[in-house]
Amino acid sequence: MIYLDHAATSYPKPDVVLDAVTKWFRYVGVSPDRGDGPRTRSCAETVQRARRAIADRTGHRADRVAFCSGATEGLNLALRALATPGSHVLTTYYEHSSVVRPLTAMTVARDLRVTRSRSTEDMCRRLAEGEGDLVVMTHASNVTGALLDADSVAAAARARGVPMILDASQTAGYVPLKCGAAVVVASAHKALHAPPGLGFVSVSEDVELAPQKFGGTGSSAALERHPSTWPQAFEAGTPNTPAVYGLAAAFEWIEAQGERALLNAARAPMQHLIQELQGMPDVRLFHGGESHDLPVLSFTHQRFDPAEIGAILAGEEIHCRGGFHCAPWVHDLLGTTAGGTLRVSTGPATTTSDIDQLVAVLRAL
């Protein structure tokens, strides 16, 4: 199989990640903060190492990093806490359903006003003019790969004391996350190359979230009342420790490879694909087009529906995706509301030959 759906989840994961997950199952088996003894302590250290690696990237304190089941849970947590009744929320057309749907659900219940922007310039202007009580934005489009200028938006938000939630699911592992956002959320299983079922919420000291689930935390076990201390307050229930082991190993792997080198490795075959697609008269390409953009692109074809091309490629064991990619708003911008796009996303292990095989099928359509 040729795997070109890294924007959905990276594959394959590095061996060191698989080894770390296996190590937990074979030799560790316990959760941090549950019990005492060397094994529990060593486990807590590994989890702490992963927390610190996240904090290093977001610029927040390590104890203000909470693990959760994924970016979806993290975004729900942050939005429920910060989109207070009557808020005016500034966001972009590029958002994933994990932002669009919580906002839609809360719009009526909390009387929110939601303004979507086409560009970060527009968001900065609105913030400067006094608009908005909350910013929530993706760091990059999961459809076109366009990297958004989160730094400028975060600066404009900070200048007004408006909290900002950054969805870094597409960028964590490829791009620095220290843009100054009050809340950074990401999933571990994309460019961070860790297992699915894990994400994180990293929060600056000047913003407070409210736990959305209550339960056992390992600490303060005798108390009826849910603790309010970070990060335990946000991690009720048995944590996904094997995935955190994978993430800790993934951070070491990323460190060794170099974040920029990994992005470049994923971008090289993408660059090749862009050149090929530009030579196909039936193809309309949607890609950020800048050198810093993510290795994700979309296209439509004049004669074939994205679902048809997706199925043809699946028949050739080339795995990409046709459709809307859980980003319902961006298709208004791209003019692709009828059938969405065919999305191709590469990873560091993608080769030029993978792309050549994809191109051969597209040429023979």
Partner: protein, 335 residues
């Protein structure tokens, strides 16, 4: 005057036969031409309960032969099973009539609260017939095969202890081999001839007769009607009758899923042999519009629906969002 007096007077039925008919439950699979004819006859004959299953809606091209429907049904695109039951309720209020707008899958058959005493084939495709064959054999329920294309038709009683459909044809023939009403048309009287045999056999089975052994075939254009002799015993090579296997019951079902946010349905085929795209293209030539075969797909259009078929049997249907309707069209055009 008893509404069944003329029927009860027929030798072989009598009061006891009538009592049996009134106490029976019949399942008719498919509510098209065959199904509506048979349902009309059995409702008038006074069966106790009649279950009609069909997943499709009524179209104008159905009215020429599907007797329970009228122009209003076609205009409204009513579900066939529902419209048929509404009509039949006016025919005989004594019959417990149930409409099932559903795909006749193994799951559907297994979910029936009460097992039927008899199953009638009113389908337009062989995969469903083989499912009926295997399900009925496993549960030892008699069923009556029926099929009609153009001016020719066939029907056969399949008793739990007699020869089954697999004894005749071990595997389901491809639709392209046998033709379909879409490609070869169908004459109304062909349906009447086939269902006359099928419904008469149904009544015979319900009153306790054994039913005719052999395959009824007819060509109403040439005026030929005959029962081809058939061994009373199952074929010694039949996997169902001899080895007790029921391949259609083990099959992964065809799955139809509406594409997220789209007016389109994707069909994942079952395990049966995928269609030969070139063969199918030749078969459909002249019947469908915008027929196109590329190295990777076969595409064509029928009215507002665009079909794309892939080599493994996977299909995309654009221009509709109801998975049941898509399944019906898939079986009609692509199998």
């Amino acid at each position: 005057m008893d509404r069944y007096s003329r029927q009860a007077r027929v030798a072989g039925i009598g009061e006891e036969g009538m009592r049996r008919i009134r106490g029976s439950r019949v399942l008719i699979v498919g509510c098209g031409a065959l199904g509506t004819h048979a349902a009309d006859t059995l409702t008038r004959a006074g069966v106790g309960a009649l279950d009609l299953v069909d997943r499709d809606i009524i179209e104008w091209s159905n009215l020429q032969r599907q007797v329970l429907f009228d122009e209003r049904d076609a205009e409204g695109g009513a579900p066939k099973a529902v419209a048929a039951v509404e009509r039949l309720r006016k025919v005989n209020r004594d019959v417990e009539l149930t409409a099932h707008v559903a795909d006749c899958s193994r799951a559907f058959l297994d979910d029936q609260a009460e097992l039927p005493d008899l199953v009638l084939d009113g389908t337009d495709n062989f995969p469903t017939r083989y499912l009926l064959n295997d399900w009925c054999r496993q549960r030892r329920i008699p069923w009556i095969y029926a099929g009609a294309v153009g001016t020719e038709g066939a029907s056969m009683v399949v008793r739990p202890d007699g020869a089954c459909l697999r004894c005749l044809w071990p595997e389901a023939p491809a639709q392209a081999e046998v033709g379909s009403c879409e490609t070869h048309g169908v004459l109304g009287p062909t349906i009447a001839a086939v269902t006359a045999f099928q419904a008469a056999e149904a009544i015979k089975l319900l009153v306790g007769e054994t039913g005719t052994t052999g395959v009824f075939t007819c060509d109403v254009w040439r005026g030929r009607y005959q029962v081809l002799p058939l061994a009373d015993q199952p074929s010694p090579d039949c996997v169902g009758c001899v080895e007790g296997l029921h391949p259609a019951l083990a099959q992964r079902p065809v799955e139809a899923v509406t594409l997220c946010g789209r007016d389109a349905v994707q069909i994942q085929p079952d395990d049966s042999a995928p269609p030969d795209l070139a063969e199918l293209a030749a078969h459909l030539h002249g019947t469908v519009e915008d027929l196109e075969q590329t190295p990777h797909v076969l595409r064509f259009r029928v009215e507002e629906v665009r079909f794309t078929l892939f080599p493994g049997g996977r299909a995309l249907l654009f221009g509709l969002s109801d998975p049941l309707r898509a399944r019906a069209l898939y079986d009609r055009w692509l199998r």
